[in-house]
Symmetry: C2
Subunit: 125 residues, 2 copies
Amino acid sequence: MDKVYSISDLAREFDITTRAIRFYEDKGLLAPARRGQTRLYSHADRVKLKLILRGKRLGLSLEESGEIIGMYDPGSNNVPQLERLIGKIQERRRALLAQKRDIDIMLAELEDAEARCLEARDSCQ
Amino acid sequence: MDKVYSISDLAREFDITTRAIRFYEDKGLLAPARRGQTRLYSHADRVKLKLILRGKRLGLSLEESGEIIGMYDPGSNNVPQLERLIGKIQERRRALLAQKRDIDIMLAELEDAEARCLEARDSCQ
DNA sequence: GCGCAGGTTGACGTTAACGTAAAGGTAAGC
DNA sequence: GCTTACCTTTACGTTAACGTCAACCTGCGC
């Protein structure tokens, strides 16, 4: 299970460019191993990339996605640091729940709009 | 109920700059009435602005929000046009439902992360 | 008439998130 | 040895979504 991926493997799989992947590394979101110059992506790297792309679909900036990646392992065994991390997680959760409410509102509005469209079409003879 | 708002009324209410509001007009998302040079925003304009800002919170571009605004009144009484509009509405709905799934996944992952944090903190003595 | 709080139109600056091109290293196949 | 397919770094270009002046008009209170 310690398969490695090349940069173009990941680019193909997620339908992005290698340039984008290197850019994420530049921004500190990825840090793949190297064999010489060449990047070797682990399964964990692939998961991080998935997180980044999901973040993008939700409208997060790369910086925000980076923060979320940082939530994935407690890392530091220092209590106040852990407390801060927990706080961040809770805030992120609140934001996601708010986003769900926005989506529900927009879904309802689209429902209305569709109804008006259907009516306009049908009353169009 | 035909109250009008000044540009800074709306800017204050939604905590954005007047520059942003004018920018949305530049991009064709708003078209307030005028008294001389001065813009006068109707209740409908305010609703459109709300749509724009909700779109932003969901990660939409201004262009996409503009499309959604365009869905709000069938306008054209021409059937193929209405059909296309209905299609767009349905696609937008699919996208929103997909986004909700992404949110649910991320929420579950945050739940995990929080559990690990709590454990790390508590096992920290 | 004067200041002031609001409004207006340019026009240039800025940031994020890459795109795109240049110039080159490397291993595989013929 | 040459091409081909990848990989690398460096660097400048681009787009969206405004921010930030500058220079100006305009009605109101005094």
